[in-house]
């Protein structure tokens, strides 16, 4: 008999009482909610070691990015156009698209990655990134990451976030909450363990 059959048979034989699937609706109803979502998101981003900035009416996103990361030379962006209502802004502050590289390894040495987020979660600063380019390595290998997020896509908590996310064509997505970090040496918190040392969410 195959291991698969063996295991399944053991499970069936050994399972005692079968419990029913619980209903989450009352929990979801009483889960934490915020009156000022943008304010909460900005403060929790700081707490997780990141930053959130608001793109104000009439502001050019390219200028905001350049001001945030004036030293960045090698800039990858998977976003070409930022659409806000009827208005749209062209991104021109980047130097290449992450899929222009022949292999993911070539993304090493990228100073700044610019990507788009789908949903932002106010309770924990997590932003859902649905893979939108072939080389998802850019999310993790860039020294700093800018996530562009429509401020109407903020939700209160993870219960509200999950129904809104998917993994898309590439079959990958990730919630990112602030920069890569570790406290593995004597519990001292250090940003930039393997991934981006800085994460800035631009709410537009």
């Amino acid at each position: 008999m195959s291991s698969r059959e063996d295991i399944l048979q053991n499970i069936r034989r050994n399972t005692q009482k079968r419990y029913e699937k619980p209903d989450l609706s009352s929990l979801v109803q009483k889960a934490v909610k915020y009156e000022d979502k943008i304010g909460q998101f900005c403060s929790v981003m700081e707490r997780v070691g990141g930053k959130a900035v608001l793109l104000h009416e009439g502001e050019d996103v390219n200028e905001v990015i350049r001001k945030l990361y004036p030293e960045a030379r090698r800039i990858a962006s998977s976003v070409r156009v930022l659409k806000r209502g009827n208005e749209s802004q062209q991104l021109n502050c980047y130097t290449f698209h992450p899929d222009e590289v022949a292999a993911s390894a070539e993304l090493d040495g990228t100073d700044l990655g610019i990507v788009s987020g789908k949903v932002g979660v106010c309770e924990n600063g997590a932003v859902w990134l649905e893979q939108e380019m072939e080389e998802r390595g850019i999310y993790f290998i860039a020294e700093a990451l800018i996530i562009l997020l429509d401020k109407t896509c903020l939700v209160n908590n993870m219960h509200e976030a999950y129904p809104l996310i998917d993994t898309g064509e590439y079959g990958f997505g990730v919630f990112v909450s602030g920069p890569s970090k570790t406290a593995d040496i004597e519990q001292a918190l250090v940003m930039g363990a393997h991934g981006p040392r800085e994460v800035t969410v631009i709410l537009y």
Partner: protein, 455 residues
Amino acid sequence: MSTKHSKAAGRFLQHKELAAWHDETLWMVRAKRDKISKELPEWEDLRNMAEAIKMYSNSHLDTLLQEFEKNAQANGAHVYWAKDADEYCSIVHHILESHHVKHFIKSKSMLAEECGLNEYLEDKGIEVVESDLGERILQLMHKRPSHIVLPAIHIRKEEIGELFVKEMGTEPGNNDQTYLTHAARKNLRHKFIEAEAAMTGANFAVASTGECVVCTNEGNADMGTSQPKLQITAFGMEKIVPDREALGVFTRLLARSGTGQPITTYTSHYRKPRKGGELHIIIVDNGRSQILADKEHVKTLNCLRCGACMNTCPVYRRSGGYSYTYFIPGPIGINLGMLKAPLHYYDNVSACSLCHSCQNVCPAKVDLADQIYCWRQQLQRLGVASTPKHVMSEGMKFLMERPGLFDWALKNASLVNKIPHWMIYNGLNDWGKEHDMPVFAKESFNELWKKNKVK
């Protein structure tokens, strides 16, 4: 009466400064957990829900695992089933060998530790690189983790500094944590890029989508799986959850309970292989299906491996992970060890004061302390109970069952107070070691009560 645990704990406590630091630091993590959990008014409802979902999923493993398999295959993944550690190791080895992998990068996986994967592969000539910073430090030191979430919590930065001078060419004497972490970042960046395959464990496997979810703070799992195009993911079968709705509950609890963060930095959902790549998923039993039959201990399968029970445990904090004989220490490790091989790991069941704190912080409500208590009741049957403790409790039983004798003994108990010190505090009396024996009162409560002296 001394168990292997208490002897090893004695050695740990000889390093007074490190032991005090260990205790305080883990208590700080526990305090962070308390603070962040209190920010959510629905915290206890979340714990109840996590427990209910786990009770459901662990009692429907047959259907949920098959649903997972079907969906994962439809996503383009290869799915394997491993009965035990050997089969799991040999599946991984077979995948690596058939793809001619020489460099292999791994993110932290408790399952891999459980099954001895690294040793197995290294014996076969495959270089395994751990990418979690703590795990990497221990791998280079040839040591094992002492905590499931904070693996290198017992190592001082000076030792790491010395290690990195040798391994990564850092400046001698520079033990700054930021400096050392960034040196490891640079060093491991090359390892990620040269690897031909990457492996992760899984915090959750979602039946309805066939995806595996991995939570890290460092981003090491993602860095690994976004470089080489061959990915292996393996999980113990109790990691299955029915759907993404359930993830909404678990992702809110995991990091808050474990490290006091609102969520881990990365919560990655791996659903399909990369373009032109391969995704291999291994579902592992290794004793789990046996636990299903054990009514008293089936709830150990609820465990999320968050580490909260260790951080809060007064015995763990003061004795360190190496004092336990099972590779997972603390309250959950005591129980998992007993389920694995009671005659091998029974030394750990004494490493508990039955304070029940673990049970009160566990996000999935594993009844850890109750289970330890149950195991203690089994020691006599297993033939491993301590003789002095057994003699003592038999004596107490004899006394308690005879009220007349009991009263007489109590009346005369204060005579014991006059016995010379050397007769009480010596090698024969384990209860007199490292603490003073209680002084018997001249009058018992019973007598006081009868004389109306109790107010």
